[in-house]
Assembly symmetry: C2
Homo-oligomer: 230 residues x 2
């Protein structure tokens, strides 16, 4: 059966950009499940599946409707135990939560700083108004002020990736010899930046950039099917 | 059979303080293995088990001699598969490496800053000379200069624990509902500080402090058998 993924897009419905939707797209590919995506704009989210969630991703798998990328990944491993695992056991499930919180508090704020004007520019007129209003309320400043910190924050951001960089000295993926959902969590954050903004977050020689390139190659180059922002 | 743990101490042989030795002490208790510790001072490390390692912990388990806390934990799970797991599967093994690198690059440098003069004061005369010389060479400054950054760095250090703090909103341990080696990794770093220095790293109300207290309670209060520095 085909799984429906409600996937966040802007004006161009072929450029899904949400970090959390990318986590799920990669997770579904990892499990080898057939999917059909439903391009969804910000203002359409409240109507998804009868208003089941304030955010996407949302999936429908037969009668099961589920929101939240981490909950979806847990569901997929439970519902499809015979397909490749996303967590590699209970310890992996628990520690993927640490990875998620690390990515959320370390990477997401800087990607927001770096890409927020580009994300705004990707929306159609109506959604751009919503995006500006909701983000300016959440962040307590104008989008233009948020992104003003981009240059000054770059070195600190790159330094903040040191745990991942250091780990890559030991193994090629967060999941070890092969990727697990932990990889897709961090991949999602950097893919969000890659699709939204031409701003270069990583030095080419950085092992983190090399790991990200390996992730882009996974599952038939799924991540590369959307070109980097130019 | 009793496992020997070569455990780093200073002048007082009842106050082992090494973060990496504490990781292993907790791991051995987690596996329910009998141990006998060999109090070892810095200058005695090169002679441990015929010079097998430049650092402790080192364990001897029958004919097996092993150094490096992470390698020891992996060995214990492989050698004693019927006892409680330290990693919770392959995903847990892989992601414990991320936890280790995170702890090493986030927590260890600040504990060094905060506690280095206290660590120096714990050594006997001969080992104090070694400690000062080796650390000043590694850090490129006098111990007194290292610790001068303590007050100024405290807020940043506390903020850097945010991934762990945020994770504790979801689950009581890094290992999930119960502790795994990932918990002992971070515990080791904070236990090192607790035993060496009275300097207060964490606010009492911090959920990270509450998690640390839970870790101190584990395995019959093993971590509390050495009193906090006063």
């Amino acid at each position: 059966m085909t799984i429906l993924l409600y996937d966040l897009v802007g004006r161009d419905s072929t450029r899904p950009f949400s970090p959390h939707c990318w986590k799920v797209a990669m997770a579904l590919a990892h499990k080898g499940l057939d999917i059909s995506t439903v391009p969804t704009r910000f203002l359409e989210v409240p109507a998804v599946e009868g208003g089941v969630s304030k955010t996407v991703p949302v999936i429908r798998d037969g009668e099961t409707v589920l929101a939240d990328s981490f909950a979806i990944a847990l569901y997929l491993d439970e519902a499809y135990p015979d397909r490749p695992t996303l967590f590699g056991g209970e310890g992996g499930e628990a520690m993927a939560r640490f990875i998620e919180r690390w990515s959320q508090v370390t990477i997401h704020p800087y990607v927001t700083t770096a890409a927020i004007m580009d994300l705004h520019a990707m929306q159609d007129a109506e959604n751009a108004v919503y995006f500006r209003q909701s983000r300016e309320q959440r962040l307590g400043k104008r989008l233009e002020e948020v992104t003003a910190a981009r240059e000054a924050g770059l070195d600190t951001f790159r330094a903040s990736l040191e745990p991942l960089r250091s780990m890559l000295f030991y193994q090629p993926f967060i999941g070890g010899a092969a990727p697990l959902f932990g990889d897709y969590i961090v991949f999602g954050a950097l893919q969000w930046a890659r699709i939204a903004s031409p701003y270069q977050l990583l030095n080419d020689g950085d092992v983190v950039a090399q790991w990200f390139a390996r992730c882009l190659d996974l599952h038939g180059g799924l991540g590369r099917k959307v070109a980097a922002a130019a």
